[in-house]
Assembly symmetry: C2
Homo-oligomer: 347 residues x 2
């Protein structure tokens, strides 16, 4: 029976997300979750949604209130905002909208592994293009015939940031759809909203990282209204539920809380970076809520395994042409203290 599955999918290994242990007592620094809870307003909004008659009814398919809130926050047309069941849902939608079977998706490497998976699912080819030595996009871009280019900015697993000028030059040179995946952008010094005057540019955002809502699955896209209208045809009618819509709207409305959380995480990131360097690690300059690091004498896989034995999960990753390393989420200060304590005993 599985022979009836499309061969492109049968051949896939499938995307493996980071480990999500169900046990308590594990310090989880492997999937870039926020160590702090979401805004108290999120809980209030969920309670309000629960008191009415809303669970039994279908949600608003376009998320009108969320769109209005996001439009105000980003000074963008609400018709140019698309809601998603996590930003992964948005990445699937743009893939299906732009890329035919046999088409081409491009992305700099190393980056988010899901982009290749999305190409495989669509029966499309995938082209990796190495970043420049200073973590920018090489121009001219050697894959300008791709129907779709994904640029994670800040990038994962490196945490590095492509400059606005570099993105601007890319968008001028390349008329095809460019998705700038800004999952981590709230931890950076700038975002790419100025690029939105190019109609082929789409920005994607998630509530999973800076807003601490990985559990509720919510993301969105910013783009030109004409493009968002086409993308809306591809999404499931009711892709976001009433509770996640309420939670996401409330989270965006509490920018003071966001700013406070971001300041704490960025301060911890600076401290973690300094301490890792003192312990002999090479780190990359991070604009995200994680750090990429390697050690000159200790294998990354060994460090990962030793830390796991000590109930600390970090992400071990290996990329062809780039090598292996650890991606460590910026946890709370207490979690980072525990991590550093264990790392000291290992290097």
């Amino acid at each position: 029976m599985t022979s009836l599955i499309r061969s492109a999918i049968r051949a896939m290994k499938g995307y493996t997300p980071g480990e999500q242990p169900r046990e308590d007592g594990i310090i989880k620094l492997n999937t870039n979750e926020n160590p702090y809870p979401p805004s108290p307003r999120v809980f209030e909004a969920i309670q309000t949604a629960l008191t009415g008659d809303r669970l039994r009814k279908y949600p608003d398919p376009v998320g009108t209130l969320f769109r209005q809130t996001a439009a105000r926050l980003h000074d963008h047309d609400p018709e140019g905002i698309l809601i998603g069941n996590g930003s992964d849902d948005i990445l699937t939608i743009v893939t299906r909208a732009f890329v035919p079977e046999g088409g081409l998706i491009a992305s700099p490497t190393p980056s988010y592994l899901l982009y290749r998976t999305l190409a495989e699912l669509q029966g499309a080819r995938f082209q990796n293009v190495p970043f420049t030595a200073d973590w920018q996009l090489p121009l001219p871009w050697p894959a300008s015939d791709a129907q779709l280019t994904f640029v994670a900015n800040p990038n994962s697993p490196t945490g590095t940031l492509v400059s606005l000028a570099n993105l601007e030059a890319f968008a001028r040179a390349c008329p095809n759809p460019l998705v700038i995946d800004e999952a981590y952008v709230d931890f950076a010094d700038h975002d790419a909203r100025p690029l939105l005057r190019h109609p082929q540019v789409i920005l994607t955002r998630t509530l999973s990282k800076s807003y601490a809502l990985a559990g509720i699955r919510f993301g969105y896209a910013l783009g030109s209204p004409a493009v968002i209208r086409e993308l809306s045809k591809v999404k499931d009618s009711y892709n976001c539920d009433v509770l996640s819509l309420a939670a996401a709207t409330a989270a965006l409305q509490d920018q003071d809380y966001l700013r406070a959380t971001l300041a704490t995480i960025r301060a911890t990131r600076t401290r973690l970076d300094g301490e890792l360097q003192r312990l002999g690690f090479a780190t990359l300059p991070s604009s995200a809520n994680f750090l990429w690091c390697t050690h000159p004498s200790r294998a990354a896989r060994t460090l990962y395994e030793e830390l796991k034995r000590r109930n600390i999960l970090v992400r071990y990753m290996v990329y062809e042409g780039f090598g292996e390393g650890l991606r460590i989420s910026v946890g709370s200060d207490a979690e980072i203290d525990r991590l550093l304590h264990e790392v000291r005993s290992l290097v």
Copy 2:
């Protein structure tokens, strides 16, 4: 820029879901929501999920607890259960897994309009096959070369039920994937679980109708573990959120509540059917939580519009080769009394 959208999608009108008015005071009998609230256990489970640390962390990607619960309920292997963000998510997943661009999807007509939309999104062809006069699948089935066949059972908009014997004969004759969409099956006298011994058969279920959880978006598939494993590669890693997983699990655990709700809705359905017939309507025998009806002298569109003017929403639908009619959800007894009162003044 929209010229870069795949032509198959540009050409689409997009699926139009039933109206979801945000105003209060409207009697909503147009999208087959349950008139009664979900089980109290659902609210308790959501509260428990909110007290912990779970919103900020990613959910269990495979929904282990839900799968165990559904496996016990259906006496099925948990590895043969796939979780979805509504059963529409499952229908998208099976389409992407089985149907190549240029492939063929078949379905009896009239039925759920989304099946054609899914074919269009995938760049596949779509073949409608009329039901027999007694609402069964014609055998031999004229589209047996389809990579995927969708059979909504009970069917929408008719509410009619294909017999197990008819489905069994179909599955024996047709080795290609057959999805039996059982969104409404809890309102019927039997389901198609005996068909699961055919490895090409997949059943889909939703929590939106009988469990009164349209707002939280949860559905699932039952199939052979080997097939479900392949389908899992196609789904978003985290397609279901922590609150919907908690809610869906709790809902399935309260079968007493489900049975009570179903008994009430089925009694109201019988009453509505009898009253509509007394008012001169022709109705179809319904195994779902809605009724399809036509009136010999009053146009369905006029009735729809007149009812809407009176703050009662029903679904007006027209199908090529079948004609037009009204699909009326079985609401609460009070809602149906209001509906019948207004209908009496209109016919």
